[in-house]
């Protein structure tokens, strides 16, 4: 049950961030691209032609620390490997790309805030 709630929260966060990116004129290319090594939450392309691979962290409280603290160096590097994997399988190796992270905080009254950090690596 708890797991299901978390999935709903996560999906909500990804939806919110997708809208945020669209609002910035980015094109959403793919959502929840998954291979055995892991998953990329959002793949988008900026108007400049740069691919953005976005990890979304959604939290309903900061009791367990800030969402960004859940992303350590190792995790960021795994995202980079996944990103290269996506680029390779889609024939885009050599394209400009960056790793972004987004934190969505859902307050008790249902409102939410987005923190977006671009090009974290």
């Amino acid at each position: 049950m708890q797991r299901k709630t978390n999935q709903i929260t996560g999906a909500f966060g990804e939806e919110v961030v997708s809208k945020f990116l669209t609002g910035k004129n980015a094109e959403i290319i793919e959502r929840n691209w998954r291979i055995r090594e892991g998953e990329i939450d959002i793949i988008a392309m900026y108007p400049s032609g740069t691919f953005a691979f976005v990890e979304v962290k959604t939290r309903s409280s900061v009791a367990f620390g800030h969402p960004f603290e859940a992303i350590n160096r190792e995790k960021a590097h795994r995202m980079q490997r996944l990103a290269l994997g996506w680029l390779a399988t889609h024939g885009c190796l050599g394209c400009d790309y960056q790793i972004d992270v987004a934190a969505v905080l859902i307050a008790a009254d249902g409102s939410h805030t987005i923190e977006y950090r671009a090009a974290v690596l």
């Binding site: 800030h66 960004f68 603290e69 992303i71 350590n72 160096r73 960021a76 992270v101 950090r117 671009a118 974290v120």
Partner: protein, 506 residues
């Protein structure tokens, strides 16, 4: 504003370098990198600083924090940068105005709840800060006493980072009570009056204090060697303020103010145990080079009991500081020079069992053992010892005497008067104490009376003394002459010096 800077001080020995602590907070994943050759204790500052900030209800930036300590080539060690890093982070995070801290030196270690803990070396750090033109320094309250020795720099003592933050935001702060910085001319409750009898050793101690003559006390256990040695600081003239500052700076680095007040004007006495190592004696250490016993005894007395029991090499490591008055320690992180001008007092038993005194009836050692025992003190070291005094067991006559011996205050007056005469005499020479007169001068400008010189030459002919011993006797006799008010050493002074020199040359 995501960039801020403040100042702190890195110490290498007694030399301080003002270090600029820069903090940049950039977008990116939460990360913390500390640049500028930090050692282990300094690298751990991250966790202390973070806990302190969070526990004081301030904001820790969940972004990429880069802390740079420049100059980057200078190795930095210790926890004293905590406070400077903490304040710079708060400032970079726009919670404290950056221009208010850019030229302020911060020293102090942080506890996890934000208290500012005492650190070592505050005094030498402040001396360096003042030289670099820093006007304001924040120090831990526990170090306020020694910090106040510094003139010409505003010292702000703080106990907690909340106080620092309040001061930086509003300008308000509690003014710490000015600690009464009266120099303490004497804080010792020991006195030469406690020593029963021992006229010869008393005189030797007095002469040592006048001329800075290094001295070896030989006597059986319980005769009072330690008692006499411990009382030598009480008859040395009070330190001048500049000497006291030198002493306080060395003790600040060693963190030994628990045993000695920073404002004491009494000459320090350090008595390392005879099992001490070379590094403990002369100073050293791989990461932070700390002063050894010979530097802690700077401007005071280095007393080594049971000297022949010291491992070979430990005493000989004192030869260079005895010669130069400083000790230079070379390690991979750099060369450090500490002052080490001390009066060396060695004490020894006459033989391994300690009973070879008088006719030596109770001694159980073989003659070879006896000879070898004092032979463990190497020739080059003994070369620098001017007096070898036998301290005989106290007899019942001396113990039964009801009146006390002469008090330290009395003796000190004579020492001060005699030193003044010597200083006047050496006004055109690079040395200031009788023990420092070079051998050449002892035979020419500073030769004793003709009759006295004849006496010494006769002794030399009879092979009672060596050429080295002759020079030492003349040096000691100069101190005796100053004590007795003679313009140059008389025959009596020289004969007394001969007696204090004592025994055969080792």
């Amino acid at each position: 504003m995501s960039l801020a800077q403040t100042k702190s001080v890195a110490l290498l020995g007694l030399d301080g370098h003002v270090v600029t602590v820069e903090v940049d907070i950039a977008d990116g994943l939460p990360m913390y990198s500390l640049l500028g050759l930090p050692d282990a204790a300094l690298s751990e500052s991250r966790d202390r600083v973070r806990a302190a900030i969070v526990n004081c209800a301030e904001i820790w930036p969940n972004r990429k924090v880069t802390v740079s300590l420049s100059p980057a080539w200078l190795p930095k060690s210790g926890s004293s940068f905590d406070l400077a890093i903490c304040i710079a982070i708060l400032s970079a995070n726009a919670t404290v105005a950056p221009d208010s801290i850019a030229e302020v030196v911060f020293l102090g270690e942080l506890s996890l709840d934000g208290k500012i803990r005492s650190v070592r070396g505050v005094l030498p750090a402040l001396i360096a800060a003042q030289k670099a033109g820093i006007k304001v320094a924040v120090v831990p309250k526990a170090n306020y006493g020694e910090a106040q020795l510094m003139q010409g720099i505003e010292i702000i003592a703080m106990e907690h980072i909340k106080q620092v933050i309040r001061w930086l935001r509003t300008g308000e702060r509690e003014i710490a009570d000015v600690i009464d910085m009266q120099w303490q001319p004497s804080d010792l409750n020991i006195d030469f009056a406690d020593v029963a009898g021992q006229p010869q050793a008393r005189l030797a101690a007095e002469v040592a204090a006048i001329g800075g003559h290094h001295i070896l006390l030989i006597g059986p256990p319980g005769a009072g060697k330690t008692m006499i040695a411990e009382r030598i600081p009480t008859i040395l003239p009070a330190l001048t303020v500049s000497q006291a500052l030198e002493v306080a700076a060395v003790h600040s680095i060693a963190g030994s103010f628990a045993t000695r007040s920073p404002t004491s004007l009494v000459a320090p006495i350090v008595s390392p145990h005879h099992t001490t190592t070379r590094v403990a004696m002369v100073g050293g250490g791989a990461h932070a080079i700390k002063p050894g016993a010979c530097s802690l005894a700077h401007n005071g007395v280095l007393f080594i009991d049971e000297a022949p029991e010291c491992p070979s090499g430990v005493l000989d490591s004192l030869r260079q500081p005895l010669e130069a008055g400083t000790i230079t320690i070379a390690r991979s992180i750099g060369n450090v020079t500490f002052p080490a001008q001390f009066l060396l007092v060695l004490a020894a038993n006459p033989c391994p069992c300690g009973k070879f005194t008088g006719r030596g009836h109770n001694c159980t050692c073989s003659s070879q053992q006896v000879r070898r025992y004092l032979g463990r003190l190497s020739g080059p070291l003994m070369d620098r010892i001017d007096m070898r005094v036998h301290v005989d067991p106290v007899g019942r006559v001396d113990m039964a005497r009801p009146e006390l011996g002469e008090s330290s205050a009395h003796i000190r007056e004579r020492v001060i008067a005699a030193r003044a005469i010597a200083q006047q005499r050496f006004i055109n020479h690079p040395w200031s104490l009788n023990s420092q007169i070079p051998s050449r001068a002892l035979r020419s400008v500073f030769a004793p009376e003709r009759t006295a010189m004849n006496f010494l030459h006769e002794e030399l002919d009879k092979e009672h003394i060596t050429a080295r011993g002759l020079h030492k006797i003349i040096r000691v006799s100069w101190s005796l002459a100053d004590l007795h008010g003679n313009k140059i050493p008389t025959l009596a002074d020289v004969q007394q010096g001969h007696a204090l020199r004592g025994g055969i040359d080792l």
